[in-house]
Amino acid sequence: MTITQVPLVDYLVLGDKPHLIANECTKCGARYFDRRNACASCFATDFKKVTIVNEGIVRSFTIVTFAAPGVPVPFVAAIIDCGGTSVRGNLANVDPTPEKVTLGMKVKLTTYSLGADDNGLEAIGFGYEPA
C-alpha cells in the first residue's frame, strides 16, 4: 500500500491514535524532539523513543496578530506542559482572544490536514484544543 499521509514533523506519529514522540536520554531522561548528537544535559549519547502524553495544560501563550510574510494570522502559539514534558504548539478550535485562551487551561492533542502536495501526499499537522 502506498503512503498517502506524512506528518508535519517526524516526532508526530500518525495512525489510529496520533501522538508525539521524543528522543529520551537513557542516562538522565532529558527529552528532545529533534535528532541530537549527545545529550545537552548530561553529554551521554544513547537515546530511546518515548511517547508524550496527549493531554496537557497551557503554561504560556501569545496571540500572534503580526507575523512574517506567508504566515497566516491570527493564531495562538502556546507552550503546553504534557505530563512534565514541555511542548510547543498552536492552540486549535478556540477563539484567538484573551477572553477564550487562559493560562492553565486544559488541552489535548488534535491533528489536521495541511493539504496534499503535487504527488497527492497529504501532510498532517498537530495542535492542541480545549479538553
Partner: protein, 401 residues
C-alpha cells in the same frame, strides 16, 4: 585604584534613529572617534579592538580601522545576537586582563531602521509543492506559525506570560504600564530614537503585534553605534587627573550562555542564564542589588522587562509584579530601571545596544546626564540578552577621585 582593575576611559553613543545617508562604517567611525576623544587618547594607544555588527558582512572591525586608523593591532569580530556589544566590550577587557595590552577598544553598530519583524518566517523549502521531510525535526515545510511562533515579539510575549502563569498578576495592563514608564523616561533622552510620551491608553490601543505586546511595547528597530575605550588600572595611574576622575570602574564583567533546562528546546530560557550572570556579577563586584542606583536592562519587549526584575534579583523571587506596582523602577523610585527610555523607545540597533546601555550608566556615574541625571549615582548595572542564548552583565562604579 588597583592595578588589575579595569576602567572605562572613554565612551560614546550616536543618536539612535534613521541615517539613510550613512552606512554602518560611518556610524561606527563616528562612535570610535568620539570615544577616543572622550578618553583623550588616539588609535596609537589602543592595543586591541573588538567589533560587532550582527546583520552586516564579516570583517566590520577592519572596515572601521580603515576609517579611523590602521595600526596593525589584533581585531576580534564578534557575533553574539543581541549581546554582541557586551561581548565586544568583554573581549577587549579579557585581552587587558590577560596582560596582552593596557588599552582596548570595543564598538558595536547596526542599521535596522525599517527592517520590521525579526525572527520567524523563512522561504519555502521547495519551489514545487512536495512534502519532503528535512532537517533535524524532519519537517515537511516551515513550521513558523504552524508549531508556535519563532518571531521575537511572540517569543518574548510567552516569556512574560509564563511568569504570569507561575506567579500571577501579569496582565496586559501591567505590561503596558512598564512600557508607559519607559516611554516617559525617553522624553529626557535627546539620543533616543523615539522620545514621545505615550499614555497607557495609547499604548494598549496601538497595533497589537503579539498579545500582550502592542507595537510601542516592542523594541524599536533603528540605526546607531556605540564605542568604548577600556584601560587597565596600572595604565590609568599614569594618565591625567582629569582622565582618572572621569574613568568609570568596571567592577564586574560577566558573560553566560544558557545551561540545559527541561523546556529550553521549546521556549528560549532567558531567566536561568541571567540569574547566573547576575549572581556572578554581584559576587565579582562585591555589591548587592540594593547598592545599585540605576539599572539598564534588556527590555527588548515590555514582557521581558518584568522577568528581568526578578532575574537580576532587584526584587524577591516571584515578586516582580508587586515590585513594579510599587513604583520602584520609575526614575524617581528606589531602583530606577531604563531611565534612558530602554529599547522600547531609545531603540535597539542590535550590536550597539550592549555598549550603549553602558554609556547610559557611565553618563550618570560621571554626573553628566543633564536633566535625566540620577542624583548621586555611584553604582549601576547594564544587562543585555541575546537569544540562542547569551547574557552580558556589567557592573560599573563611579571613580573614587
Amino acid at each position: 585604584m588597583a592595578t588589575d582593575d579595569i576602567y572605562i576611559l572613554g565612551i560614546y553613543m550616536t543618536k539612535f534613529g534613521k541615517y539613510p545617508d550613512k552606512d554602518t562604517v560611518d556610524l561606527a567611525s563616528e562612535a570610535v572617534i568620539a570615544a577616543l576623544a572622550d578618553a583623550q587618547v588616539t588609535m596609537k594607544d589602543i592595543g586591541v579592538m573588538a567589533a560587532g555588527c550582527l546583520m552586516g558582512q564579516g570583517g566590520i572591525g577592519q572596515m572601521i580601522q580603515k576609517q579611523v586608523g590602521q595600526t596593525g593591532i589584533p581585531v576580534y569580530n564578534v557575533s553574539n545576537a543581541c549581546a554582541t556589544g557586551a561581548t565586544a566590550l568583554r573581549t577587549a577587557i579579557m585581552a587587558i586582563k590577560a596582560g596582552e595590552c593596557d588599552m582596548g577598544l570595543a564598538v558595536g553598530v547596526e542599521k535596522l531602521a525599517g527592517v520590521g519583524l525579526l525572527g520567524g518566517g523563512g522561504t519555502p523549502k521547495s519551489k514545487n509543492k512536495e512534502w519532503t521531510p528535512q532537517g533535524r525535526f524532519g519537517s515537511v515545510t516551515n513550521v513558523d506559525g504552524l508549531i508556535g511562533t519563532a518571531a521575537m515579539p511572540g517569543t518574548f510575549a510567552q516569556v512574560g506570560m509564563e511568569y504570569g502563569h507561575k506567579y500571577g498578576g501579569a496582565t496586559f495592563e501591567l505590561f503596558a504600564k512598564i512600557s508607559e514608564k519607559n516611554h516617559a523616561h525617553s522624553t529626557l533622552n535627546p539620543l533616543a530614537a523615539y522620545s514621545k510620551r505615550m499614555s497607557l491608553d495609547e499604548i494598549m490601543n496601538d497595533i497589537m503585534i503579539s498579545y500582550p505586546n502592542t507595537r510601542p511595547m516592542c523594541s524599536a528597530n533603528c540605526d546607531g553605534a556605540a564605542a568604548a575605550v577600556v584601560v587597565s588600572g596600572a595604565k590609568l595611574k599614569t594618565l591625567s587627573l582629569e582622565q582618572q576622575r572621569r574613568a568609570v570602574k568596571v567592577s564586574a564583567s560577566i558573560l553566560t550562555s544558557d545551561p540545559y533546562q527541561e523546556a529550553c528546546q521549546v521556549l528560549p530560557d532567558v531567566n536561568t542564564l541571567t540569574r547566573i550572570a547576575a549572581k556572578q556579577a554581584y559576587e565579582q563586584a562585591g555589591v548587592s542589588p540594593s547598592d545599585l542606583n540605576l539599572v539598564e536592562l534588556h527590555d527588548c519587549f515590555a514582557t521581558a522587562e518584568l522577568v528581568h526584575y526578578d532575574n537580576l534579583m532587584l526584587c524577591e523571587e516571584g515578586g516582580a509584579v508587586d515590585f513594579f506596582n510599587s513604583g520602584a523602577t520609575w526614575r524617581d523610585g528606589s531602583m530606577p530601571v531604563n531611565v534612558s527610555g530602554g529599547l522600547e523607545s531609545k531603540g535597539h540597533p542590535i550590536a550597539a545596544t550592549g555598549i550603549a546601555n553602558i554609556w547610559e550608566v557611565c553618563h550618570h556615574l560621571r554626573g553628566e546626564a543633564g536633566p535625566r541625571q540620577i542624583e548621586g549615582a555611584k553604582v549601576g548595572l547594564a544587562h543585555v540578552i541575546g537569544l540562542g542564548s547569551a547574557c552580558g552583565i556589567h557592573i560599573l562604579e563611579k571613580s573614587a577621585l
